[in-house]
């Protein structure tokens, strides 16, 4: 484990200690089997304590984990015959967003997702998964293609946000995102969105209008990063931890707020511990919702999509 998060340190340390005792026993320096059994029991309890009671801030860290599986990792396990397609036909190709056609359990689909890098070099190439307008316009181009050829659309959301840069503004970052929101509302094919890491604001939503929205257990989805919120609201970026709690950004919060359909449970300790297993859990969810959505008439699909968004929000009326 190269990257250890602060909150999981006790687990990692205990795990290392057990491994060491085991080594000593194997080398028959002394017999520590009894101690090992005791410690393993304690480890089991500790894991439950640490991972099953993760605080919002712990999940933020987990969602940002450098080893967290990315869109392309999941594509490899979940789809076959993935053919990546490039460019928006208007300006360029944005490596912060990948898209292409593939087969999902034999059914042709279009897959689109934000793409972070795995190391510094790749992160620079992929702009840390923060798209420019051309990224959103590539996505739109390929979603229109999916609509034309009646292929369901599956999107993976994993971005800190759309890139806040000069060129992005000049080329219409707002318009590119806005256009996707509106167009996604009208496609006559099922759209399934899965938040796999960070769901950062409008940049996430730009791939996020669909019939079913799922979140991996340790992913987040928010209107602004906890750091951004605390610096704006309380003029102190150091209160990010508190903001993470107040803003209600975890998968369970969003389920409770009726924004997402389901939380996809993660491997204990985070998706990166077993990518293959995690991918199979995502696959199951996609399979069942695709089956359900594919049987719907187009008009019903669009009507339900509208109702889904219409129902999000909470308000009251003034007593007169």
């Amino acid at each position: 484990m190269k990257h250890i998060l602060e909150f999981e340190k006790p687990v990692i340390e205990l795990r290392e200690k057990i491994a060491e005792l085991r080594r000593m026993t194997e080398n028959s320096e002394m017999d520590l089997s009894e101690e090992i059994i005791t410690l393993e029991k304690r480890l089991e309890k500790l894991e439950v304590d640490v991972y099953d009671r993760m605080q919002p801030w712990d999940r933020v860290q987990m969602a940002r984990h450098p080893e967290r599986p990315t869109t392309l990792d999941y594509i490899e396990y979940i789809f076959s015959d993935f053919l990546e397609l490039h460019g928006d036909r208007l300006y360029g190709d944005d490596a912060a967003l990948v898209a292409g056609i593939a087969k999902f359990q034999g059914t042709p689909v279009t897959v689109i997702g934000h793409q972070r890098g795995k190391d510094t070099k790749e992160n620079i190439r992929r702009n840390f998964g923060m798209p420019h307008p051309e990224g959103y316009r590539k996505a739109l181009r390929l979603m229109k293609q999916a609509d034309k050829f009646n292929r369901p659309i599956i999107t993976f959301i994993d971005t800190k946000g759309a890139y806040p840069g000069k060129a992005a503004e000049e080329r219409g970052q707002s318009e590119a995102i806005a256009r996707n929101l509106m167009e996604m509302a009208g496609f006559n094919v099922p759209i399934i969105c899965v938040v796999i890491g960070e769901g950062g604001s409008g940049g996430a939503l730009g791939l996020g209008i669909g019939d079913r929205i799922y979140m991996l257990e340790n992913s987040t989805y928010s209107v602004i990063s906890p750091e951004g919120a605390s610096s704006i609201l309380w003029k102190d970026a150091g209160l990010a931890q508190q903001a993470a709690e107040s803003m209600k950004i975890t998968s369970y919060d969003l389920k409770e707020l009726n924004v997402i359909d389901e939380v996809i449970p993660e491997v204990r300790g985070g998706a990166h511990r077993d990518v293959e297993y995690q991918a199979s859990e995502i696959e199951k969810v996609i399979a069942s919702s695709l089956k359900e959505l594919s049987s719907m008439e187009n008009s019903q699909l669009l009507e339900e999509r509208f109702n889904k968004y219409k129902s999000i929000g909470d308000y009251a009326f003034l007593d007169l």
């Binding site: 806040p164 970052q173 409008g202 209107v223 919120a229 999509r305 909470d314 003034l318």
Partner: protein, 286 residues
């Protein structure tokens, strides 16, 4: 002695009596932040809150705008009594709402309804930056969505005047999802051939800029309005360079192909009237 009496030198500062103070109403005069000139507020109001000296467009509140642009006495307000709850239980949110309600005399940051322009019916939404910086929470999203839906069902156009700092943080992801809600409604209006005109006024940023504000069949903006996705400070920090002064202004957007026209406030009524009239004369989907 006598000389002293005629001296122009004032020895004492004059302090106006309490009653005299009352004679000068609060905010009688106003200083233009752009040209620094001082003039009567009345003069400014008569000129639709456009500076008589430098043409700087000052803020116009929702009801003032209604009055300036639409036919007198034709406005019928919708959802007037809809107010924000505090869905996340966010600290201090309710106090802030109450303060803005008292300050602005509005119940929320947008006013919606049906109105006429040169005798033609239209649905309208006017955002007001005095209320929580015009930020979009559940109520703003719901009211705009309702107005779009009414426009669709009644087959009338929908005009919005945006003025917003973006999504409202105190309602978290629910605010973000209002971008989705309004855009999904616009798609339905669009699919049925409905007309949507967006007029961006100062400021139109963040989630509002990245949803309905940018989705008009016609996208107009007032001169000098700040329009953009990300905040200037964030961008400067990210790219580590100073941005030009005109960055993210209406004129900047026009130059980069993001707007149909920049419209002086004095031209707004005439231009909107022309567009409505052209659409009314034909070309609608049958």
């Amino acid at each position: 002695m006598l000389r002293d009496f005629f001296s122009k030198k004032k020895r004492y500062a004059s302090i106006p009596r309490q009653e005299a103070k009352k004679d000068v109403p609060e905010g009688l005069m106003q200083k233009c932040p752009n040209c620094q000139k001082i003039f009567y507020r009345k003069e400014l109001n008569r000129n639709m809150n456009v500076c008589p000296h430098c043409d700087h467009h000052h803020r116009l509140n929702a009801y003032e705008r209604l009055e300036h642009i639409f036919d007198e006495g034709t406005f019928e307000e919708w959802d007037k009594h809809m107010i924000s709850s505090n869905p996340l239980g966010f600290p201090d949110y309710e106090e802030k709402l109450e303060k803005d309600r008292l300050k602005s005399d509005l119940n929320e940051a947008v006013v919606t309804g049906r109105v006429q322009l040169n005798g033609l019916d239209t649905a309208v939404a006017i955002m007001d930056a005095r209320f929580r910086m015009g930020s979009m929470g559940s109520v703003v999203g719901e009211k705009i969505t309702n107005a779009i839906e009414k426009a669709r069902k009644e087959k009338i156009p929908f005009i919005i005047f945006t003025a917003s700092g973006g999504a409202r943080m105190q309602e978290g992801v629910l605010s973000l999802m209002q971008m989705g809600k309004t855009s999904v409604a616009l798609q339905r209006l669009h699919a049925e051939g409905g007309l949507f005109i967006s007029v961006m006024t100062h400021p139109t940023t963040g989630g509002v800029s990245a949803s309905f504000a940018s989705l008009g069949d016609y996208n107009f903006a007032e001169p000098g309005a700040l329009i953009g996705f990300a905040g200037r400070r964030i961008i400067e920090q990210t790219i580590r360079e100073k941005l030009p002064d005109d960055f993210q202004t209406a004129e900047f957007l026009l130059e980069h192909g993001q707007l149909d026209r920049v419209l002086h406030r004095h031209e707004l009524k005439k231009t909107l009237g022309m567009v409505l009239e052209i659409h009314h004369s034909g070309g609608e989907k049958t």
